[in-house]
């Protein structure tokens, strides 16, 4: 469990990135911080592994204040996945994945074996092990990034817009992969994104942030969609318009779902969804697989 207690962060140039932020992130669940740029979401994420230290307030992991922990040691037990993978360009895939275990003193042979197994876990072929990052596609690089994040078997996995730089098709693939991984591994995932679709797809708990890290609403995707706290949230999630405001209409000899602009959004399927979407708390409309306009 990760707890933020009245955390504020003011940068030396005077910018107040986060102001009096309090939040509890439950263990073994995915919490998504979502907001536009300037909402302080990345700053909040980077506070958890002490890449940024708060100006005031405290952060605890399982009851231990992280300000009492040595940053380097703390970071080595937290998985970190960033946009553009951040892989070391002069090291092979396998060496990148094994980086942190080697730093922690795992014997080289074991570290490499574990790294190979992790390539399987993230769905990469072992033949890529000796490639360099620049020889991989963007999607493959992100998978290596995830494998590296998992290499120390951390309880906590921080993901900073990890799928932001890949094309939509690969992104959808990686999102599904993460859902599968999370159902197997049950990590405490903290995920930062500006994409509300991604937040609803991946999050058990979604935190919508306004500027300065002020929380607009916390809840499951269904709660937020069904009861947006205010106009800001409603407009951010798009519940008041377009493809999320659906109604049933009789067309020809069947009922179809139509959005507020009159576009065909899909049909009601009895008993849930027909194929691979998240087995989680997301009964609402607007799942990307439902057709309609591309996101």
């Amino acid at each position: 469990m990760i707890e933020f207690r009245s955390v504020s962060k003011q940068f030396p140039d005077g910018t107040l990135a986060v102001e009096d932020f309090s939040l509890t992130l439950p263990s073994h669940q995915t919490t998504v911080l979502v907001g536009s740029s300037g909402s302080g979401k990345t700053t909040l994420l980077r506070m958890i592994n002490r890449m940024v230290d708060p100006s005031s307030g405290a952060i605890e992991i399982d009851g231990v204040g992280i300000h009492t922990l040595e940053p380097v040691q703390l970071r080595r037990r937290i998985g970190y996945v960033m946009q553009n993978s951040g892989l070391l360009p002069h090291r092979t895939v396998i060496d990148n994945v094994a980086t942190v275990p080697l730093l922690r003193g795992t014997p080289k042979k074991n570290a490499r074996q574990d790294a190979l197994a992790l390539l399987d876990t993230v769905g990469l072929d072992r033949s890529l092990a000796d490639r360099y990052p620049s020889q991989l596609s963007g999607g493959q690089q992100q998978r290596v990034g995830v494998a590296r994040g998992l290499a120390v078997n951390p309880n906590i996995l921080l993901m900073d817009e990890p799928f932001g730089a890949v094309d939509p098709i690969v992104r959808a693939e990686l999102q599904q992969e993460l859902i599968r991984l999370q159902s197997e591994l049950g990590k405490t995932v903290v995920f930062v994104t500006h994409d509300i679709e991604e937040a609803f797809l991946l999050g058990d708990q979604v935190v919508i942030l306004r500027e300065g890290g002020r929380i607009a609403q916390i809840g499951s995707p269904a709660e937020i969609l069904a009861n947006p706290a205010d106009d800001f949230v409603a407009s951010f999630v798009g519940a008041d318009r377009g493809k999320r405001a659906l109604h049933l209409e009789r067309r020809g000899d069947g009922d179809v779902l139509v959005d507020s602009e009159g576009r065909l959004a899909g049909v009601l399927v009895p008993g849930g969804r027909p194929h691979e979407t998240k087995a989680g708390p997301f009964p609402g409309p607007g799942a990307p697989a439902q057709g309609g306009e591309p996101q």
């Binding site: 040691q73 080595r76 980086t99 963007g138």
Partner: protein
């Protein structure tokens, strides 16, 4: 043209290679002097450059200092130091170390600065200590530019080391000064040609070294990560780089 013939004859005359003042001895002296001056300059410039490059602090000071050092006329400095500490090799070593510091310093810190910030940020995020970041990320990735700095310092030092003969009986510069004094222009030109050949040889060595130190996986030492390529899924396609190829 007659002068060139004289110079070539002088260079090709085996008699000029033997003895305590022969070409062989002078060549070794000259080369040894160059190496020592570079080592001294490196001992000062490389650690400073690494600190500046890693912390991002003191860059303005480094630029200003290097600019100042570059502006000092080497012959003037040499004379000044020689007047101060006396005739001998001390003064040329000081003057040429000062000459070699700016390019090496610049190579050291620009090498670090050219590394994609995201790479260093991520190295820190996964739990590398600052020393580990310098050792395993910044030095290997910054090495090509450091070598480029050393290369340019080497060329300057090997050419300017002729000045050592101004205050000491030392190096290939001896032939220039002796030739000038005795109006033996063949010897003088021959001496300069030897310096030029030595510079070419060192340049050739550095060309090879510079190619060798580019880390595998990095197409060019300047841009470790090519973002333009990262959005395209190409599983099992041809390797995108040449250096990392098997």
């Amino acid at each position: 043209m007659n002068l060139f013939v004289d110079a070539l004859n002088w260079i090709l005359d085996p008699a000029n290679y033997t003895g305590p003042g022969g070409i062989s001895v002078r060549l070794v002296e000259h080369l040894g002097f160059t190496v020592v001056a570079l080592l001294m300059a490196s001992a000062i410039a490389i650690p400073c450059g690494f600190v500046i490059g890693h912390t991002g602090r003191g860059r303005g000071l480094a630029v200003a200092t290097s600019g100042g050092l570059r502006a000092i006329p080497t012959l003037g400095l040499l004379t000044l130091v020689a007047l101060w500490i006396g005739i001998g090799l001390g003064a040329p070593y000081v003057a040429l170390t000062v000459l070699a510091i700016p390019p090496i310093l610049a190579g050291a810190y620009t090498g670090f600065e050219a590394i994609d910030r995201a790479v260093i940020d991520s190295a820190r995020s996964v739990g590398m200590s600052e020393a580990q970041i310098v050792r395993t990320v910044e030095i290997p990735l910054g090495l090509p530019l450091l070598i480029a700095g050393l290369r340019s310092a080497t060329l300057q030092v090997v050419a300017t080391a002729t000045l050592a003969a101004y205050v000491a009986d030392f190096g290939l510069g001896r032939f220039l000064f002796a030739g000038l004094k005795t109006r033996d222009y063949g010897e003088m030109l021959g001496g300069s040609i030897l310096v030029i050949l030595l510079a070419f040889a060192l340049e050739g060595i550095f060309t090879v070294v510079q190619r060798l130190v580019v880390p595998r996986g990095v197409a060019s030492g300047r841009l470790p990560v090519d973002r333009a390529r990262s959005a395209r899924p190409s599983p099992g396609m041809e390797p995108a780089i040449t250096e990392g190829n098997h």
